[in-house]
Symmetry: C2
Subunit: 204 residues, 2 copies
């Protein structure tokens, strides 16, 4: 009964596209219209939406507002989820600047860094803490997710600290395959691999 990573990814995309449609004033949308925006097919969209239980009308299609609501019930936690950023370097700063205030369902509530120069500062409204306070601060703030943006050799050790602190999900930017205990979800976002793939497929 579990929904696959791919389906969840596409549902997130559909919700974004539906929000655009709502802003454009659309009341209803057909699966083939959503598919055109998602660069996918109508059958794929309908199959994906089956997991929601929400049903469209054969005559009008899907009610945009209602479908966004159904997607949000499915995708979002009941309360806003708090995220910790570990590693406030070049990438970490860009992430802080980007995610602040943009997404209602998650906030980067705190950041951590090993550099004493950075500890104590506040970047984009987000305080930077020392690494040795990770466990304490994470529990105190009720953090359940983390982003790893530290150099590759540090990533596994940082992940281990996060597991100890009770984190349930990690988005890892370091080009390292992390070990994770049962029950913790890790997504590897590997930019170098992506660029390598573009280089490979862009050439044939």
């Amino acid at each position: 009964m579990g929904v696959s990573e791919r389906v969840v990814g596409r549902l997130i995309l559909y919700r974004r596209l539906l929000k655009d449609l709502a802003d454009e004033g659309a009341g209803y949308v057909f699966s083939h219209e959503l598919a055109a925006r998602a660069k996918s097919t109508a059958a794929q969209v309908r199959r994906d939406l089956m997991v929601l239980g929400y049903m469209g009308s054969p005559a009008r299609g899907y009610a945009v507002r209602d479908l966004i609501a159904a997607l949000s019930v499915f995708l979002d936690a009941p309360e806003r989820q708090k995220v910790a950023l570990v590693g406030v370097g070049n990438l970490g700063r860009a992430l802080l600047a980007y995610f602040v205030g943009r997404h209602p369902q998650f906030t980067i509530a705190v950041a951590f860094d090993a550099d004493p120069q950075k500890v104590g500062r506040v970047v984009n409204g987000c305080p930077i803490h020392a690494m040795d306070s990770l466990g304490q601060v994470a529990r105190q703030e009720g953090i359940d997710l983390a982003i790893i943006a530290v150099p590759a050799p540090e990533a596994q050790a940082v992940a281990a600290e996060l597991y100890k602190a009770g984190i349930r999900g990690i988005l890892n930017f370091a080009p390292v395959r992390l070990w994770a205990p049962e029950g913790v979800y890790v997504e590897h976002l590997d930019m170098t691999m992506s660029l390598g793939r573009v280089a490979y497929f862009g050439r044939r």
Copy 2:
């Protein structure tokens, strides 16, 4: 006879792991050892490596140096590939800082930005050009790949300029599904989707 995106991605990962092994002084490696580092299985590794034509020895496993060489023949273009970065904002600057000098097979040779304040400056050894010189500079420099790091509403128009300039592959960071003509490969690296997935799966 085409190799799938997934297989290419894993081959890129294996090469990285093999380079670590080479640095550690390993001469040979077994599929199950590589699998352990890749958080995968021995059968998967062996199946993936089949596309290379290179064959390991049943007694010793794979010769690390030779396998890296075979992977490089398969993955890399004959000459170094040049990449253009479009959009030198928070993310673009982080990418410039990161990719400079790090990867032998591709270089970010030039950048482009719409902001006149940024045009003419050189960041991490990479000159920033105006958007209206994109076609000319790209052809002159022999650029074949591009990274899009402009705000979402600008991304599709930027992509269209890149197609005109003859670019063959794009790595897109904007949370927008780009249309692409036949023969151009586009990879969407959607951080918001990734974080959304971490939020979803980290919670159950």
